[in-house]
Structure formats: structure tokens, C-alpha cells
């Protein structure tokens, strides 16, 4: 056990920079104050989001409790958190446990592979626990107060919270361990890891949506019967991920019934833990260390192929960015997920409508075809911009360089040009995502292809702005010091800030469009105004980005 705690302590210190903070407090008050300011800004941003989220929860609680289905709100919260941890947990587990730089070092220590695996998994668990707290606490507290729940409710909620990440994270770990153990001895494992990772995310999404669609086929009489009982819908709605229903039943049921569900929730976690521990004790290193080996037969390059096509520095750096992303499973899964999911999200309604009759589905698609196409175009462009800007390609472009950044500063290329190459790289991923999202909208929702095309053009303008904002954040506070690629891209706050600011930008344009609808009747004119505003912001943002690049100075 001492090995487990020693490794965990080391990982936590390294991950959260605790030693650096301590050292700065003692030796460099200026750096410490800077850290405090960054922490305070992050806390302020977090509190602002938490406040808005709490208001939403409060409004929803009034609706649900008024309708006699108050605990449905709890169910939605648990369902969302569990599915989210399962979805993102797969990415984090792959990055932290299987593609970490320290695997080689840790494998030389006189500790069992199971111990290393569990200490790393605990580190992931702690961060997921913190995220769960932020999402769950407002729901539990607001519901508890409004429904006059007793102390026992909060105690049970605290116990359940401690186990909330367990089931999805352990499922993600089992999937990741088996998958990495399987591909560990294959020749093209990096590519397989990228394809497998992306396919896994798509599968989770499809499985979740298919289960939800099945629910819509539930006998209407059963739903009516459930509605007549307080909180009767939980088991029906929770069927898409049963542990979520167990958690809610454990919370709201009295006496032994509640304890039974609580034990079921904890029991499943414990059973999965045993399975994970067993798998890890057998094959963890096979998957983690195989990344360090070269199984491929040496590919000797012929002399005639020594010189590749000559490129300009800008193009060379752009190509290098793409090659790096495509050869790193962690970078690829995080950056390219949007391209795949953009399409998947838009075709998901097909699964839902598959359960409907032909006339019903035609009615749904007909609504979109008959709607004002200017408004559909604007809305679709907004969706494309949001999905296109949630990838961390631009917001971690500089951070991902890590130690190589310092060598690149010795290149005879202006830093502005290096930033341009990163902008083009981030923009290319965002544009590809917008394209697949548009294609998905045409295929899955029956959007007019011409409308989707104009929406794509508008999104291209808007994505300049969101990419600029994302890159600007990384330029201002890059994270060069990291131990594994997951820390550089997934556990980098810049990607969260960029995503929130990009969404805010799109939301502000949406608000502007809404306000204009009240004063201007012509929707085409409104669309043109929005495009011009977006273009102006994008152009100004790009100019600011180049100015930031020209004046950028980083402390080695």
C-alpha cells in the first residue's frame, strides 16, 4: 500500500504543480501572486458558471416538483454526469494511464503493475470527483431545500457522490485496458488507438441514444401509470443507464428500500473494481509499455527519397502540426472527436425518428424544410461554430509544443508566422468539423443542402473568430511543462476557457440576431448584418492575435 500512496502523492504533486506553488510561496512571491491571480480568475469564472447553472436548476426544480416528478431532476443530473464521465473518462484514462511519459520510469520501480495502475486511476478519479461535485451539489441542495428533505438525504447524497465516478470510470478503464492490451502487440497500434478511441466515443453516444429511443417505444399505458405515482418515471427514464436510477432511488426512497439501492450502487462499483484490478494485474503494462516499443520492421528510406517536397516555413509548420496530431492517439482523439461527433450528433435524430411512423418522421423533417431558411441557416451556422470550436486544437496549440517550444524559438522564422501556422491548423480542424456537422444536418435532419452550404460559409467566417480567441488564450498562458500529452491537451484549462468564450461569442451573435428580429422584418438582411459583425470581429481578433504574437515573451 505504501507504494500506492507514494506514487499517488507524486502524481498529484506533479499534476497540480503543488511543489511549484510551495516553492514559489517560499522563494518567488511575484510568481506566487501571479498564480493566485490566475487561480482567483479561474475561481471567479467557475463561480459565474456555477451561479448560472444553479439558476437553471432552480427554474427546472420548480417545474419538476410542481408536476409531482421532482426526483426526475435528480435523475437527469445523475444520468448526465454518469454518461459524461463514461464518455470523457475513456479519453482521460487512455491518456493518463496508457500514453503517459512516466510509464517507462514507473515500470522500473519495485511495485506491482496493479499498484501503478490503481494510483493513476485514483488520480483520475479525484479530478472526476471534483467535476461531479460541481455538477451535482447545486441539484442536490436546491432539490433538497425545495422538497424539504431531511439530513439523511444530504448524508446519502454525500455517500453517493463519493461513488458517482466509480461505475463509468471503471467501465471506461475496463474498455481501455482490454483495447490497449489487444492492440499492444499490433504493428500499427498508434493508428488503431486513434481509430478505436474515436469509434468507442461514437459507440457510447449511439448506444445511449438508441436506449433513449427505445424508451420512446415504451407502452403509453405504462407511462401513464408511472405518471400517476410520485417519481414514477425514474425507472423508465433511468433505464438508459440503470445506475443513475439506482442512485436516485437510493436518495429519495425511505428505509430499507433506499439502502437496497445504495448497496446496489456501491456493490456494482465494488464488483467493477475487482474486475478492473484483475485485468490491470495481468495486462496493464502490456498496453502501457507497448507504446515505447518498435515492432515495425525498420523502414529504410531510399536515398532518392531523402529530400521531400520543399515547402515554405509556414506550410512546413502546418504539415508538422497535422503529422504530430495524427501520430499521437491522445492528441488525435481530443482534437478530431468533433469532426466525427459533428456528423454523429446531427444524424442522431434519425435513430429517434426510426421509431416513429413514416408520417410522423416526415412531419418532423417537414418542419425544418418549411421553416424560414435564413433562420435555419443562421441557427445551423451557430451550431457548426459551437461544435467546431469545442476542440482543443487551437487552444492548446502552443502548450502542446512542451519543451520543443524553446528550440523552435531559435528558428529563423518570426513568431507571428509560427502562430499563423497554428491558427491555420486549428482553423482547418474547426472548418472540417463545421463541414461534417453540415453534412450530418443534411443527412440526419433533412436540412436543405443549399441552406447547409450557406450556413457552412457563414460558419467559416465565425470560426476565424472562435479560433483566434482560442489561440489567443494559449498565447497568453501556455502550459509548456507537462508529464504526459493528456495534461497538455485534456487537462489544460485553456481548452475550457476557449470553449466557454467561443460559446459566449456565438451566444452574443445569437442574441444580436434575436434583438434584430424585433426591429427588422427581413431575415436575409438580419443574416447579412450578423455575417458582417462576425467578419468584423474575426478580422479585428486576428489583428489582435498577431499583435500578441509580435510582443510575446515567455519565461524559460
Amino acid at each position: 500500500m505504501s507504494g500506492y500512496f507514494t506514487i499517488l502523492r507524486m502524481q498529484l504533486r506533479s499534476r497540480y504543480g503543488l511543489s511549484v506553488i510551495k516553492s514559489n510561496y517560499r522563494n518567488d512571491k511575484k510568481a506566487f501572486r501571479k498564480q493566485l491571480v490566475i487561480f482567483a480568475s479561474a475561481a471567479f469564472g467557475f463561480l459565474a458558471i456555477l451561479g448560472s447553472y444553479s439558476v437553471l436548476v432552480y427554474e427546472a426544480s420548480k417545474l419538476f416538483i410542481g408536476g409531482g416528478q421532482g426526483s426526475l431532476l435528480l435523475l437527469y443530473a445523475f444520468l448526465a454526469i454518469l454518461v459524461m464521465i463514461l464518455f470523457f473518462g475513456l479519453i482521460v484514462v487512455l491518456g493518463t494511464l496508457f500514453f503517459a511519459r512516466d510509464s517507462e520510469f514507473l515500470s522500473t520501480l519495485p511495485v506491482h503493475q496493479r499498484t501503478v495502475f490503481l494510483s493513476k486511476l485514483t488520480m483520475v478519479y479525484i479530478s472526476e470527483l471534483a467535476i461531479s461535485l460541481g455538477l451535482l451539489a447545486p441539484v442536490v441542495i436546491i432539490y433538497g431545500v425545495m422538497a424539504n428533505m431531511g439530513v439523511l438525504f444530504y448524508i446519502k447524497a454525500a455517500v453517493i457522490w463519493l461513488f458517482v465516478p466509480a461505475i463509468p470510470l471503471l467501465i471506461a478503464s475496463i474498455l481501455a485496458s482490454l483495447f490497449m492490451g489487444f492492440i499492444g502487440k499490433t504493428r500499427h497500434r498508434s493508428m488503431l488507438a486513434i481509430i478505436g478511441g474515436l469509434a468507442g466515443l461514437v459507440l457510447i453516444m449511439f448506444a445511449q441514444t438508441s436506449l433513449s429511443a427505445l424508451l420512446r417505444n415504451t407502452d403509453p399505458n405504462a407511462i401513464l401509470q408511472a405518471l400517476s405515482q410520485p417519481n414514477g418515471l425514474i425507472n423508465i427514464m433511468g433505464a438508459s443507464f440503470p445506475p443513475s436510477a439506482w442512485a436516485v432511488n437510493a436518495l429519495v426512497s425511505d428505509g430499507f428500500e433506499g439502502v437496497k439501492y445504495l448497496l446496489g450502487f456501491i456493490g456494482l462499483s465494488a464488483a467493477l473494481f475487482v474486475v478492473v484490478t484483475f485485468i490491470a494485474s495481468k495486462i496493464y503494462y502490456r498496453g502501457a509499455l507497448s507504446q515505447l516499443e518498435t515492432l515495425k520492421k525498420l523502414k529504410v528510406v531510399a536515398r532518392s527519397a531523402y529530400v521531400k517536397k520543399q515547402r515554405t516555413p509556414l506550410r512546413a509548420m502546418f504539415v508538422r502540426e497535422w503529422k504530430t496530431i495524427l501520430r499521437s492517439p491522445v492528441y488525435a482523439i481530443n482534437s478530431l472527436t468533433g469532426i466525427v461527433l459533428g456528423f454523429v450528433v446531427m444524424v442522431l435524430p434519425l435513430i429517434g425518428t426510426a421509431a416513429m411512423s413514416g408520417a410522423e418522421s416526415e412531419e418532423v423533417f417537414g418542419l425544418l424544410r418549411e421553416a424560414n431558411q435564413d433562420i435555419v441557416c443562421l441557427a445551423l451556422a451557430g451550431i457548426m461554430a459551437i461544435i467546431g470550436s469545442i476542440n482543443p486544437a487551437a487552444s492548446t496549440a502552443l502548450s502542446r509544443e512542451g519543451g520543443a517550444f524553446w528550440s523552435s524559438t531559435a528558428f529563423p522564422v518570426a513568431f507571428e508566422k509560427q502562430v499563423q501556422s497554428k491558427f491555420l491548423f486549428g482553423y482547418s480542424i474547426a472548418a472540417a468539423t463545421a463541414f461534417t456537422t453540415g453534412a450530418g444536418a443534411v443527412v440526419g435532419m433533412g436540412v436543405n443542402p443549399l441552406t447547409a452550404f450557406f450556413a457552412f460559409l457563414f460558419a467559416l467566417v465565425l470560426l476565424v473568430g472562435t479560433t483566434v480567441v482560442s489561440l489567443e488564450i494559449d498565447l497568453i498562458r501556455p502550459k509548456f511543462g507537462w508529464n504526459n500529452e493528456t495534461e497538455a491537451i485534456k487537462q489544460n484549462m485553456n481548452s475550457l476557457y476557449a470553449m466557454l468564450l467561443s460559446m459566449l461569442l456565438v451566444a452574443l451573435l445569437g442574441l444580436l440576431a434575436y434583438l434584430l428580429f424585433n426591429v427588422i422584418a427581413q431575415t436575409l438582411l438580419i443574416s447579412l448584418i450578423i455575417v458582417v459583425v462576425a467578419a468584423a470581429f474575426s478580422a479585428a481578433g486576428y489583428a489582435v492575435l498577431m499583435k500578441t504574437a509580435a510582443g510575446a515573451r515567455y519565461e524559460y
Partner: protein, 246 residues
Amino acid sequence: MIQIENVTKTYSKSKTKAVDDLSVQTRDGEIFGFIGPNGAGKTTTIKMLVGILKPDSGRIAINGINFEDSPIELKSIIGYVPDSHDIYDRLTGIEYLNFIGDIYSVPAKARKANIEKYLAMFNLEKAAGEIIRSYSHGMKQKIIVAAALMHEPQYWILDEPMTGLDPKSAHLLKQEMKAHCAKGNTVFFSTHVLEVVEHLCDRIGIIDDGKLIALGTLGELRSKAQNETSLENIFFKLTEEPEGGE
């Protein structure tokens, strides 16, 4: 000519000066060895020479060019080997060399000739098609050295270039350094291997606690260290704390 004039550098994380009022001037056609204990300020000085770090005060100019006025022009005449292997290791060896060739705008003919030359010299021909991440420590060092020299820079600024090289590769690199300087060019390098400095360098600078404590030919250093014969003894004599001193 490399001119370092009264250069001082303090890291914000530390109050002590990493480099303290350093002045060194190299001559055209010379191999200049820069030695000192760990943490003496060698790497900081070299990082300032190649533009990674900015001095707090003082002036650095290479071939009469400084970073404030013409950073791109200055960087293009330098070949730099860093002390770490933090490079783009998701590229193959040949991709990395071509990437550097693109960055330094090396014409195709010269690029081909130099890639062939350095891959053969370092025995990397078979590994050139592999991802750098899979290279051994020594192979990474070789590809970094090859990339640094590929654009035929006038000034070689090398931070511990021999680290990890096998004896044959180290020998060939030393021959290259001599041939480079014989054409009137300059090599400025740091190392901990005193035998290399003793046999290779025209002049030597010894840095300790950020300060230049000795500068000159081996003969000049000998006389400064009261006629100690080997560079090792000279080094120890000059870098050791005086009895009872701070």
C-alpha cells in the same frame, strides 16, 4: 565573431544571477570551449546566444548582428544543438531533417547532400524512416546534431554536443568542428569532457556561479593556475572555493 558584453541574466524564479556580467569575444576560425560546474551558467549563456533567452542587461552580437535589430537574420546563421532532446519526436528522422530544411530554406541540392552526409556519418541511414520517439538517447542526439548543421551555418553553438554519441560519431563530429573552423567559421560549445576541450579548443572559457573566472588558451590558463599541467587540475584549482571562503 561572437560578442558577449557585460551580459547578466536572472531568472524570475530565483534571486541569484544565473549569468553575472559575462563578457566573452570569440575569434573567427576558432573553436571555443565553454566549461564549468553544473549550474554554473553555461546553458543559460548558450540560450541567450541563440535567442531563446533575453539578457537582463548587456549586449550580444554575432557577426555584428544582434537579436533586437535582426533576429531572423541572426538565427539563420546559427546552428544550435540544445542540451535536451525536446524536439518534434512524432516525426520520422527524415521528416525532421526536411522540416528543418524547410524552416531554414535549404535548397534541394544542398539539402540532399547534407542529409546523405550526416545520415552516413552518424550511421542513421537505417533509422531515418522511423519515428524519432523510438530512437535511443544517442540516436536522438545524432539527429539533433545533423539537423543543426544541415543548413551549413557559419556559427555552431552546441550545448554538450558529445553527450550520448558513440566514440566513432564523437570523433567524426570533432573532425567536422575542426574542418568547419579551418574555413574561418566559429564553433562555441559547452561540455563536461575536459579531454575534448584540452585537445580540440583554441581557447577556453571557464564559468562558475555565473561569472567568467578564466579565459584564454590552454597555456594561458596553465600560467593562471600556477602551472598546473592538465586542464582537469586547472579546472579544479580555479573552480574550487578558497579555504574558509563563502
